[in-house]
């Protein structure tokens, strides 16, 4: 069952613009992970944000977590064509070794 979900199926921006992908979840979590999947590849983790953290940065990426509204966002600034990918959120529930995955948001960055 999908307890985590991104709030948009697809986004399109132009290079240099900023973009935000949102994720909501439906249960108490211990951490929220953001992954990126480029065409023809497996997903790769971008950022992990723990439940006691509100914000995490990794270069041009910024993730936020709001446990009261059970939502997270991933913002990308100064987007590049190589940011074109599908972005997933995945939630950790307790110490469960299974992640709860969202369905993914497709981002296209146009030149």
């Amino acid at each position: 069952s999908q307890l985590a979900e991104e709030n948009s199926w697809a986004l399109s921006v132009h290079e240099g613009e900023s973009v935000t992908v949102n994720c909501s979840y439906k249960t108490s979590i211990t951490a929220l992970q953001w992954y990126r999947q480029k065409s023809g590849k497996g997903p790769a983790q971008l950022i992990l944000i723990r439940s006691n953290e509100r914000e995490k940065r990794n270069g041009r990426l910024r993730a936020t977590l709001d446990t009261s509204s059970q939502s997270s966002s991933l913002s990308i600034t100064a987007t590049r064509c190589e940011d074109t990918a599908v972005y997933f959120c995945a939630a950790n529930v307790g110490d469960n070794s299974k992640l709860i995955w969202g369905l993914g948001t497709s981002l296209v960055v146009n030149p």
């Binding site: 497996g42 997903p43 992990l48 723990r50 997933f88 995945a90 950790n92 070794s97 992640l99 995955w101």
Partner: protein, 113 residues
């Protein structure tokens, strides 16, 4: 150097045939996972393992078996392949100390005719 590899990368099988997808990891992670990815469904967990000799059912295990003969290797077996199992299959490894961050292989595209 790729830490999670999958073979074959592409496979065409016939309905009713047996298919084995293989995964090897050099991360020395205890946990390994098999997912399938279909448009509109995201990543769905088929089987996972806590270590050599262990296999656990995921969310969609029907029609699939798994085998973990060693820390490094994890196989997904389709005893009687059906067209509905046409998909892209991903293997991943993960470790508890990093909130089970998962490291994925490149995927296997399986077509069942």
């Amino acid at each position: 150097e790729a830490a999670v590899t999958q073979s074959p990368r592409n496979k065409v099988a016939v309905t009713g045939g047996k298919v084995t997808l293989s995964c090897n990891q050099t991360n020395n992670h205890n946990n390994m996972y098999w997912y399938r990815q279909d448009t509109g469904h995201g990543l769905r967990l088929i089987h996972y393992s806590y270590g050599a000799g262990s296999t656990e059912k995921g969310d969609i295990p029907d029609g699939y078996k798994a085998s973990r003969p060693s820390q490094e290797n994890f196989s997904l077996i389709l005893e009687l392949a059906t067209p509905s199992q046409t998909s892209v299959y991903f293997c991943a490894s993960g470790v508890q100390g990093h909130f089970y961050e998962q490291y994925f292989g490149p995927g296997t595209r399986l077509t069942v005719l």
